[in-house]
């Protein structure tokens, strides 16, 4: 009768394992799948998943297309217009890198950005390092069923290496595209980013959805009022792909060996949700610096479960900012292992939840050595029936003396039906540390409301302004000007403020006084 999710993913893993890959990787996949079978999917009885509605996700039989996503020129252009201007770019469609719309020409000397699939396909025995990293990944699965699922099924990923003492000035952007097509698609991606000693880079991970008409969803780019209409297909589409009509295409056949695989095309009727699961591990060596931005703008019907793993060595600096704007159910997991002295780590997050969406934030900071400093600020804006969680754990191990760790989660509830579950956890085993955490949940500040209104700003606009301000205070910390402006403008639009436009530019241009 009903769909057995565990069996379904075992089957997918079997297909995946039959493809060409090193034997050790096949073994890892099968171990991960076995682990998934053993664990089962989490239920509300699992403390870490207490509030997360997992069933809507496990109820869907997601397919893993072996074919690359095909985009019309219009869709591709639209997609690229949503990426960060001036960034080096890797685009991944439903789990596979799309070289045609990636732009990696201008890589600085020594920097490499490669497809994980290509590395595994072309080299019989890829470097030991990669193998070690997979072993670590399997180790780390623990009781996380979705991590096991990702490891069993991942179809591609990005491997980035920044060599010693190299500073990459252009940001590098990984764009994950999920397509709403007639069959629900899963895109499982696993990436590895290494910053060697003394290097520096900015990495953006952006998650976007592609609705059936190829147009992007207005919800994730602002203007809260525009209703999303998934039913705009009306057949007769896809003039650019002659192979969609006619006999039932076989997108789920993993044995598409042979020449030029027919791309799978999302431009068919129907609008099934997609599921993106991405695991990205960052290895930040001594004295290296990473700015990481995760911009999650998935389709409101989509499922998103992604991990940011940070492995930091002495005197490294990492700042990560996770912005969650889309998805029906989105889970952001960020874990930072501070394995060295004098490390600085910033884990910030902003989540906007409206409609019936759910955003789950889980962070874990592991202070293992002395003299490290971490700051964590999460802010949520929840409206309508939106629900969110913040589960932030800080572990200070016995060796980690002189740790300075600050954490706060601030949630703004814009309606009576919106909900936030906030759970800060501190576990401290060292005695000479400074650790603080705070959680606030509330409504807009009455004094600020009165102040704005007394200046003539109407009540609704004042609410919009203050809500914008609450979020924008975090966005002001974004160090990439193009991204900062984009996010500010997106927020302004969402809260119906006029564009922030060029006031600051005018200020700089025109001498005052």
């Amino acid at each position: 009768m009903s769909h057995d999710p565990i069996q379904h993913y075992q089957d997918l893993c079997q297909s995946r394992s039959q493809q060409k890959q090193p034997a050790w990787l096949r073994a890892i996949r099968l171990s991960a799948a076995a682990r998934l079978a053993e664990l089962g999917f989490p239920t509300r009885k699992h403390e870490e998943w207490k509030y997360t509605p997992v069933r809507p996700l496990t109820a869907v039989a997601f397919a893993q297309s072996p074919l690359p996503l095909s985009l019309s020129r219009v869709a591709a252009e639209d997609l690229l217009s949503r990426t960060t201007q001036g960034a080096l770019r890797v685009v991944i469609g439903d789990g596979q890198i799309l070289p045609a719309i990636s732009s990696l020409e201008a890589l600085p000397a020594g920097v490499s950005i490669r497809s994980l699939r290509e590395i595994l396909d072309t080299e019989n025995e890829p470097d030991d390092l990669l193998r070690q990293r997979f072993a670590l990944a399997l180790d780390r699965v623990g009781d996380n069923a979705f991590d096991a699922l990702n490891l069993a099924l991942f179809s591609d990923g990005v491997v980035i290496d920044i060599p010693k003492n190299t500073s990459v000035t252009q940001p590098i952007e990984i764009v994950y595209v999920g397509s709403c097509s007639s069959t629900p698609q899963i895109g499982a991606i696993r990436s590895f980013v290494s910053l060697a000693r003394g290097s520096q880079a900015s990495i953006i991970e952006r998650f976007v959805g592609l609705s059936p008409d190829g147009a992007h969803n207005p919800h994730t780019t602002g203007s809260a009022s525009t209703p999303h209409n998934p039913h705009t297909t009306g057949s007769a589409s896809t003039p650019h792909n002659p192979h969609t009509t006619g006999s039932a295409p076989t997108p789920h056949n993993p044995h598409t060996t042979g020449s030029a695989p027919t791309p799978h095309n999302p431009h068919t009727t129907g609008s099934a949700p997609y599921f993106t699961t991405a695991s990205t591990a960052f290895f930040v060596e001594e004295n290296a610096a990473l700015d990481h931005y995760k911009i999650q703008q998935d389709d409101p019907s989509a499922f998103h479960i992604a991990w940011t793993w940070l492995h930091q060595k002495s005197h490294s600096r990492v700042s990560t900012f996770a912005v969650s704007l889309g998805g029906k159910i989105a889970r952001n997991e960020t874990e930072a292992a501070l394995d060295g002295q004098g490390i600085e780590t910033t884990l910030n997050g902003l989540y906007l939840v409206e409609g019936d969406r759910f955003v789950d934030n889980r962070t874990f900071l592991d202070h293992a050595k002395p003299h490290c400093h971490s700051v964590e600020v999460y802010k949520g804006i929840l409206s309508e029936r939106g629900k969110g969680t913040f589960n932030g754990k800080i572990l200070v191990r016995q060796d980690a003396q002189k740790t300075d760790a600050k954490q706060s989660n601030q949630a703004l509830l814009l309606s009576d039906d919106a909900t936030i579950y906030s759970k800060p956890q501190l576990e401290i085993f060292a005695d000479d540390v400074k650790c603080t955490h705070g959680a606030t949940t509330g409504y807009l500040d009455e004094k600020s409301m009165f102040y704005a209104r007394s200046r003539g700003v109407p009540e609704d606009a004042a609410r919009g302004l203050l809500t914008y301000a609450f979020a924008n205070a975090l966005i002001e910390g974004v160090r990439l000007p193009a991204l900062q402006q984009e996010l500010s403008a997106l927020l302004a639009q969402r809260f119906q403020l006029s564009a922030m436009d060029d006031l600051m530019g005018l200020l700089d241009e025109q001498e005052l006084g």
Binding site: D445, E446, K447, S448, F450, Y451, A452, R453, S454, R455, G456, V457, P458, E459, A461, A462, L465, L466, Y468, A469, F470, A471, N472, A473, L474, I475, E476, L497, S498, M500, D501, D502, L503, M504, L506, L507, Q510, L512, G513
Partner: protein, 250 residues
């Protein structure tokens, strides 16, 4: 312009204003002085429409309209401006952005065309020049991390930009050094054109050397107990508030 009759108001159940009467004609400057806790700030906030203060009796007419029925933003559109004693900090909003939003909201409500960025910056630059402000104030988030003096100057900049008919200064002079005080006074005096009115709520006489009032009132226990000209302010400075309290203790 403004006619306050028998105004009574309370906050947290405690009566603060107990029958306040005041009439301000167009073009006049009124100083309201009084000891701490006499109801000066409450009065200023009630005029601006702060909801924490509950009006329990009396009337306030502004240009013939019932002010007490108006929302805070409607009062701003009508031409009332309150310079706050403690301006709030709003991180995440640029000061300049806020200034333009306020000005355009008021212009829109008055049926005037909203100003685009260039036109707005031109007006803003004039005001900044007039008040001898530094432009870094414009680039920072609204009041965030401003010193006390910077916050007060920013209030005066807002006032200069919004050009109210009735400006109410709630202890704007408290804690200011003499240079900042002069900037505040210059801003107020620049506004005076024979039709605009000002209510200066203050604890000290010093500001009144620079903004010379037409009338001075002493507020005590929520009522105006003494009114006079500018010389009353000097008298209060000299004698302190003790003699008012003594004469009303009996």
């Amino acid at each position: 312009m403004l006619k306050v009759s028998n105004l009574q108001a309370r906050v947290d159940g405690k009566m603060i204003l107990n029958g306040l009467d005041l009439e301000v004609k167009a073009g006049e400057v009124h100083a309201i002085m009084g000891p701490n806790g006499s109801g000066k700030s409450t009065f200023a906030n009630v005029l601006a429409g702060h909801e924490a203060f509950e009006v329990t009796g009396g009337t306030v007419e502004f240009e013939g309209k019932n002010l007490l029925e108006m929302e805070p933003e409607e009062r701003a559109w009508a031409g009332i401006f309150l310079a706050f004693q403690y301006p709030v900090e709003i991180p995440g909003v640029g000061n300049t952005y806020f200034l333009r939003m306020a000005l355009n909201a008021i212009r829109k409500a008055r049926g005037q065309e909203e100003l685009d960025s260039v036109a707005f910056m031109k007006v803003l630059r004039e005001k900044v020049k007039l008040l001898k402000l530094r432009d870094d104030l414009l680039k920072r988030p609204l009041n965030e991390g401003f010193s006390g003096g910077e916050k007060k100057r920013n209030e005066i900049l807002q006032m200069a930009l919004l050009e109210p008919k009735l400006a109410i200064l709630d202890e704007t002079d408290s804690g200011l050094d003499i240079d900042a005080l002069k900037i505040v006074a210059d801003g107020v005096n620049a506004l005076r054109d024979g039709t605009r009115s000002v209510i200066v709520v203050t604890h000290y006489q010093r500001l009144l050397d620079y903004i010379v009032p037409d009338h001075t009132h002493v507020l005590y226990k929520g009522k105006i107990v003494k009114s006079g000209g500018k010389e009353l302010a000097l008298e209060l400075e000299e004698k302190g508030y003790g003699w008012i309290q003594e004469s009303h203790a009996a």
